[in-house]
Amino acid sequence: MKSKELKWAILISIIILLGYLLPYTVLTNVAEWYGSLLLWTILAVIIIAINYLISRKWGE
């Protein structure tokens, strides 16, 4: 894996890790729409953006 790809892979892994950890720790008592629901929504949007950036130059 080349270094640019590796950086993306690490970033994605961190985001996924946050998706496991935060809801079960900091947010476990936040019974609001801005708790885990919002967190997972934001992480998903970040993932879309990352995929957009990774694939931006494919086949050019």
């Binding site: 894996m1 994605i12 996924i16 998706g19 879309i48 995929n51 130059k57 494919w58 086949g59």
Partner: protein
């Protein structure tokens, strides 16, 4: 309960339009394997994206995921989002699959493994395990259509009629023009799924007094449903056991990984990935909101699977829209089944028949593939009719069971030392362990079968590979080809 004639009319219109689209999709002659099963590797990005979405998302979303939300709250959303994030694997593996598929002429993902590890048995074994798990999985989807139609019409349309409609449509959609008719009908169905579901959810939220009061109601009536583990349903280990197999879905399930061979160009592959991500994001939110709405409107259902039929018969949803959503759910199931059907036939024809019969030509493989399509469909139909425990178990086990090929798939692209013996032992031994764990409902150390599948298969793949001789020449050639091409195409 919805009027039976309305249901029939809507189904009829759906069938006529889809058949028309399937008919239009025929182009050129499908006289070889690449043409019939991969659309000559010429699918455009938009169709690829919609078809990938329709294949991935089955009736599970509006029935199962909504039911999970009903039972366990927001954890269901997290589960689906972790899967969603796992599709990022396509950003790394997609171009690699696509490049080697084109270069070496692979039709199936298992064929690729067999070639890369220089052992045809790898291709055969992976294919056979895929069939073992995916035929029962299709059966459960077929049964889902049966239950949905029977439930919604209060058995005016019988379970068996529903299952027969779904089976026949799946066969027809895959038969008319192979992957072309599947991809085009998938596209139509995916649009249908997402538009109808989004519309109805917007209507329901409005009916419940808008987003603000929607969340206020959830907060006051069932605050736990906004957190994990919430009411305890989504304990961390359960969450982990559910999400890990699904995280690798885009690699482990051949009906989606085979899609990586099909786009016309790397640009189309990109459109497929981005299109899917947008579709999936919307559809996930819609399905979860749907489940939350059910928990507000019908808080005390005994069986969470009834949430969706209940919602569709409620006053907030106009009957015509309810029937359209119902057909949307049916379309979601059928678009998944027909893709699985086509993929499994290609696996059988290419990797099982093609390797057993040494002089099998491309043409004879295609004939076998076409014969196998209805046979697999009928098998799934028969399974759907029997209420056998084993079928349900294998279906639930499918996400965990298919996971056992993941180390060999990753190894093919990133590890020179991987060997056929490593691949074979990891797939066979861990596959059998998954089946035993599921049959006996055992959870050693509290870990679900999917977690054991990935742990054991990884250890076996690495351990056995290190003890055996790697196909050095092939590995070097395969990986250096990728290295050059990835750079040339600005992927790395």
């Amino acid at each position: 309960m919805l009027s039976t004639s309305l249901v029939w009319w809507t189904i009829a219109i759906y069938i006529i339009i889809s058949l028309f689209v399937a008919y239009l999709s025929r182009s050129g002659k499908q006289t070889n394997m690449v043409s019939y099963f991969l659309g000559d590797r010429k699918l455009n990005g938009f169709v690829s994206a919609l078809s990938y979405s329709a294949t991935t998302y089955s009736a599970f979303m509006l029935v199962g995921l909504a039911g999970l939300t009903y039972k366990g709250g927001v954890g269901a959303f997290g589960f689906e989002i972790i899967y969603f994030m796992g599709v990022s694997l396509v950003a790394f593996f997609g171009p690699r699959f696509w490049l080697v598929g084109k270069k070496y002429g692979y039709v199936t993902p298992s064929e690729m493994l067999g070639d890369r590890y220089e052992n045809k048995k790898v291709a055969m074994v992976v294919s056979i395990f895929s069939c073992l798990f995916l035929i029962p999985y299709s059966a459960v989807q077929l049964a889902g259509v049966g239950y949905l139609l029977a439930g919604i019409t209060d058995h005016a349309i019988s379970f068996t009629t529903g299952v027969i409609i779904a089976t026949v449509l799946a066969i027809v959609f895959s038969y008319i023009a192979g992957i072309r008719s599947v991809a085009w009908t998938d596209s139509l169905q995916s649009l249908f799924m997402i538009i109808s579901a989004t519309l109805v959810v917007i209507l329901i939220i409005r009916g419940l007094g808008g987003l603000g009061s929607f969340f206020d109601t959830i907060k006051s009536s069932n605050p736990q449903s906004l957190t994990v583990p919430g009411n305890g349903f989504f304990s961390f280990l359960t969450f982990l056991g559910l999400t890990v197999p699904w995280f690798f879905f885009s690699l482990s399930n051949p009906q989606v990984s085979q899609r990586l061979f099909m786009p016309a160009s790397l640009k189309s592959l990109r459109t497929m990935l981005m299109g899917f991500l947008i579709f999936g994001f919307i559809y996930t939110i819609v399905s979860v909101v749907w489940g939350f709405s059910a928990s507000i409107m019908f808080p005390n259902l005994e069986n969470a699977d009834l949430a969706t039929p209940k919602m569709l018969s409620s006053d907030l949803v106009p009957p015509i829209l309810a029937v359209i959503v119902m057909v949307g759910i049916m379309a979601a199931a059928i678009s998944t089944i027909d893709s699985i059907l086509l993929t499994l036939s290609s696996l059988f024809a290419r990797d099982v028949y093609g390797n057993i019969k040494k002089d099998a030509t491309d043409k004879s493989q295609l004939v076998v593939g076409k014969i196998v399509i209805p046979i697999i469909a009928i098998l799934a139909y028969l399974f759907a009719q029997t209420n056998a425990n084993l079928i349900a178990v294998l279906s639930v086990a499918s996400s965990a069971g298919l996971l056992v090929a993941v180390p060999a798939i990753i190894g093919a692209f990133f590890w020179k030392r991987g060997t056929a013996a490593g691949a074979l032992s990891s797939v066979i031994i861990s596959g059998i362990i998954v089946i035993i764990l599921e049959l006996t409902s055992l959870k050693p150390l509290g870990l679900a079968s999917g977690l054991w599948a990935i742990i054991i298969s990884t250890l076996l793949f690495i351990g056995v590979s290190l003890m055996t001789k790697a196909p050095e020449k092939k590995a070097t050639e395969f990986l250096s080809y990728l290295k050059t091409e990835l750079r040339k195409n600005k992927i790395v």
